[in-house]
């Protein structure tokens, strides 16, 4: 019985902690941006720039907290109660889940901001070891004997799904290409994959730190970042003849932001992504900006690649997801009977 006051104190402490961390304390506003793996460095810098801008415009201090992980996992966490004010995920399908499963945002969320709610885009490129010893130039080279390809698991990784669809779209666009030849190509491709990581950053680490594989299929920004962080001269980026236009969209998580009373600042935060400053920062972190001026300024780091969109090539994410990544989809056929 002696321990009762102790236990009571602890319970009180726990409860106090649970209720603490409200959105507004004095003049400080807190936002939580739940994002996917390769945006860490970009949002680090962007958050500081936005906070400075917001302070100048309103006098309020805004603190933006970040959470990063595989895109699908992050969507799941928001649905399970992670208190995101804004979600900036790898693909529209994951944000769709916030509407269809979580009922946290309206179904037409993607129409609310310009350019499909996608302030920056990216594409899928190849990262190879310095000097490109295996002579990898295009998708066809990936299935040559002795080439090991690193790409994460499309069941859990948004980036991996873009990789998969880019490969599929390329194979189908070859002379005589059909869905059947594309499936045969992608199957051959996955026979060259020694390990499936769960997320894009994990796959990058497998390739650059553990030294596995000859080529990494990666987000353009992820590949460029790896080259910059790990020293130019160890790796180089190869742009294939054709790739896919990856659109990682953003949205305010209406229900949670309204509950926190942060809608105004959350909307301003996303708006700032479209501003010249936001676009410039995105370009500096190797995301392809929508803004023409920023695009021109950083033209040298974005090689011209023929880009197909998910709508053109696959009729949108819902169809692509059902045909390729749902249980029984093409990925299960390919990987199950490898």
């Amino acid at each position: 019985m002696r321990s009762a006051p102790l236990v009571r104190t602890l319970v009180l402490l726990l409860a106090a902690w649970a209720c603490a961390s409200p959105a507004v304390a004095g003049q400080t506003v807190t936002l939580l941006n739940v994002s996917y793996d390769p945006t860490r460095e970009f949002y680090d810098e962007f958050n500081a720039a936005f906070a400075a801008d917001w302070k100048r415009r309103t006098g309020d201090t805004v603190v933006v907290n970040q959470s990063h992980g595989g895109s699908g996992k992050q969507a799941r966490a928001i649905i399970d109660g992670l208190q995101a004010d804004v979600a900036t995920l790898a693909l529209g399908y994951d944000i769709d889940a916030l509407a269809s499963i979580g009922h946290l945002i309206p179904a037409d969320w993607q129409k609310r901001l310009p350019s499909n709610s996608t302030p920056y885009t990216s594409t899928i490129v190849f990262l190879v070891r310095a000097g490109n010893p295996k002579g990898i130039r295009d998708w066809g080279d990936l299935v040559k004997p002795g080439v090991a390809v690193i790409t994460p698991n499309p069941k859990t990784s948004g980036g991996a799904r873009w990789n998969y669809l880019a490969a599929w779209a390329w194979a189908r666009s070859q002379p005589g290409g059909t869905d059947a030849t594309a499936e045969a190509y992608v199957k051959a491709l996955y026979a060259h994959v020694p390990v499936l990581d769960s997320g894009a950053r994990g796959a990058t680490m497998t390739f650059v730190e553990r030294g596995l594989g000859d080529v990494l299929l990666a987000w353009e920004n992820e590949a460029q970042l790896a080259v910059r962080e790990l020293g130019v001269g160890k790796f180089q980026v190869v742009a294939p003849s054709q790739s896919i236009l990856a659109e990682p969209p953003v949205t305010v998580v209406d229900k949670l932001a309204d509950h926190h009373g942060t809608r105004k600042v959350a909307e301003a935060y996303l708006g700032y992504l479209y501003s010249p400053q936001g676009q410039e920062l995105a370009a500096r972190h190797y995301f392809r900006p929508r803004d023409a001026a920023a695009r021109a300024k950083y033209a040298s780091q974005f090689p011209e690649v023929k880009l197909v969109t998910i709508d053109q090539a696959f009729g949108g994410w819902t169809k692509a997801q059902a045909a390729h990544f749902a249980d029984g989809g093409s990925f299960d056929r390919i990987y199950g009977v490898r």
Binding site: N65, H68, M205, L230
Partner: protein, 284 residues
């Protein structure tokens, strides 16, 4: 014959030492080597970084809540099991072992299913603005779950081994229950108790899987030290990752040193521990 035996003994010892060196000492050396790869200043900077500091504070806080709770529970459970016979006793013993048998990831998911937005209590918690999952309480709960058996598991065999003679003598001489516990039981079990607490603490600070599921990974708010290590490593910052990891490694060293000291002071504990191991190894 004896020369052969002598040779094979040397060989075995050599193999064991080599195994230890490759699988234990080498990783340990690498952690510290990498942590100091860019000098002491970088090491200190990595540990005083706000995100690292908050991870350290959170880890200490979580341990400070989980360990005392499991201490109280462990003593109570061990007392009940070693000193009393009751129906369902073996079921209780099995339950205490459950966290050892369950994968930590499952332990975390259980709490998501119970307290998550779509879980049993999710809507009630949301209405009252109480956050459990993806906040500190969830991390504390998951940590309590995985560190639950350490104290009880250490004490039960020790108390069974010691028997109840001394306590019954004290009772027959007129001591109250509380007096018996404080004057007789506690002194008998104190070293085992301390050892259980050490192990419990080491696991509480080092837990990754269960905490990873319920954390939400919000930098500066819900990242514990092990989670922060992973994030730093994934951010192309291996030196800082190893710096934080070196603190966890130090914790392991301190735990081991404390264990050695305890065993030196209290040879009984070693016997008890060994008896426990034999009992566990031979029980079906």
């Amino acid at each position: 014959m004896s020369r052969v035996a002598h040779g094979s003994r040397r060989l075995l010892i050599g193999v064991a030492l080599l195994y230890l060196a490759v699988f234990l000492l080498l990783p340990f050396a690498i952690v510290f080597g990498e942590a100091f790869a860019h000098g002491v200043a970088t090491y200190v900077a990595a540990l005083t970084d706000p995100a690292a500091r908050s991870a350290i504070v959170l880890t200490l806080t979580v341990a400070a809540i989980a360990v005392p709770l499991n201490l109280v529970f462990g003593v109570a459970a061990a007392w009940a099991i070693a000193r009393h016979d009751f129906r369902g006793k073996s079921a209780l013993v099995t339950l205490i072992d459950l966290p050892f048998a369950v994968s930590p990831v499952i332990s975390g998911l259980i709490y998501v299913l119970v307290f998550g937005a779509n879980g049993w209590f999710g809507s009630w918690l949301a209405e009252h603005d109480v956050r459990v999952i993806f906040a500190v309480p969830g991390i504390v709960l998951a940590t309590i779950f995985v560190t639950f058996p350490f104290v009880a598991r250490e004490l039960i065999p020790l108390m069974q081994l010691q028997g109840r003679d001394e306590e019954e003598t004290a009772l027959s001489l007129g001591a109250s229950g509380w007096q018996v516990f404080r004057r007789v039981t506690l002194p008998n079990i104190r070293w085992g108790l301390l050892y259980g607490v050490l192990l419990c603490n080491a696991r509480a600070m080092g837990e990754f899987g269960a905490v990873s599921v319920v954390s939400g990974h919000v930098r500066g708010l819900t990242n514990t030290m092990p989670l922060h290590v992973e994030i730093l490593y994934n951010e192309y910052n291996p030196t800082a990752a190893f710096a934080v990891a070196s603190l966890l490694a130090l914790l392991a060293l301190v735990t081991l040193a404390a264990r050695a000291m305890l065993e030196a002071r209290e040879p009984d504990l070693r016997h008890a521990t060994r008896a426990v191991q034999v009992a566990q190894a031979t029980s079906p």
